[in-house]
């Protein structure tokens, strides 16, 4: 019995370069639309948040794993998600003493492959969408975190380092939209 399904999954894959170029066009457009770099950073983070709250469902469906016992397991899951969705393999390092902060270190950042930041955008967090995605995804599993870039290849650092900090467990409250 032939399985046309397997061909269908292949055509859903898109070249990495196309993805990088699409994201680049998106960032360039947002930069044109907004005056301040801070606003652009916020927008990218917001977009990432919207991706994160949705992609977590897909991730949990695919990995079928249960709850995380502690924040370290959460870190491992985030690491696995990068591999699954972006084919990136960051290392988890720099744990804080209280095990509530960790870093994801990327040797290279494929979504920023061809990017060179112009001088007037030196404060632009180009890959801020990733920070938002982590925040959004973890919020849906009731973990509130803050995520930001501690180091960035685009700014001349040797690696790109994404820092994640645990803020608190979100109690099972009524979601914000329902009044």
């Amino acid at each position: 019995m032939s399985r046309p399904g397997s061909r269908l999954t292949d055509t859903k894959k898109v070249s990495g370069e196309l993805f990088s170029l699409t994201y680049g066009a998106l960032v360039a457009q947002i930069v044109k639309d907004y005056q301040s770099v801070e606003d652009v950073n916020k927008q990218l983070e917001k977009m990432g948040y919207n991706v994160g709250v949705r992609i977590i469902e897909d991730f949990l469906a695919r990995t079928k794993e249960g709850k995380c016992a502690d924040f370290r397991e959460t870190a491992e899951k985030v690491q696995a998600a990068f591999k699954l969705y972006l084919n990136m393999s960051p290392t988890v390092t720099s744990w804080s003493a209280a095990s509530d902060q960790f870093s994801l270190v990327f040797e290279a950042n494929p979504i920023a492959e061809f990017v060179e930041l112009p001088d007037n955008y030196a404060d632009l967090q180009y890959s801020n969408i990733l920070c938002g995605a982590i925040r959004g995804a973890l919020e849906m599993v009731h973990i509130e975190v803050a995520a930001w870039f501690a180091q960035d290849n685009l700014k001349g650092d040797s690696v790109t380092e994404l820092r994640v900090k645990f803020i608190r467990k979100v109690e099972d409250t009524v979601p914000a939209g329902d009044d």
Binding site: V31, E113, E116
Partner: protein
């Protein structure tokens, strides 16, 4: 007689110094990137020469456009000559024109330089913050041009 020989050699050195002027010309005939290489290492008076070089390159554009239509190759070799200057050209897939003014033939070196700068140009165009047909201000691009200029042109 020895004195005459010395003069002759001195003159030869001067001509064989190998000076190159490379310019990328945009669709509006505007220069997007310019750089000069000189193997003699002397400081070239940029302003004086720059105007003349731009003039020669600009004058050659019509010939480049003609040659471009007559051949499927990107490398057009020598398309024009002005006094002691040869003008070589290379046209990219998107019709950006790379012009090289040179006083030595060095066809292989120039062809390699053009090819490498083409790769570098493609990477530059992929930068979402760079608009096509605008001047290229990237430090990375300049470094590559310097590197390939030393490698293939001046040595």
């Amino acid at each position: 007689q020895a004195y005459n020989c010395l003069i002759h050699f001195y003159k030869r050195d001067f001509v064989m110094s190998g000076t190159y002027y490379f310019v990328i010309v945009g669709h509006n005939d505007n220069p997007l990137f310019e750089v000069e290489f000189s193997s003699s290492g002397r400081e070239v008076r940029k302003d004086d020469h720059r105007h003349l070089n731009q003039f020669i390159a600009h004058a050659a554009l019509d010939l480049v456009d003609e040659h471009m239509l007559r051949t499927p190759n990107m490398y057009l070799k020598i398309v024009d000559k002005f006094n002691e200057w040869f003008v070589s050209a290379f046209v990219t897939a998107s019709r950006q024109r790379f012009i090289m003014l040179h006083d030595l033939k060095n066809e292989d070196g120039i062809k390699s330089f053009f090819s490498e700068m083409y790769e570098t140009y493609i990477k530059q165009v992929m930068n979402p913050f760079y608009s096509i047909n605008t001047p290229i201000k990237s430090v990375h691009f300049e470094k590559k041009a310097q590197f390939y200029g030393r490698k293939f042109l001046t040595g």
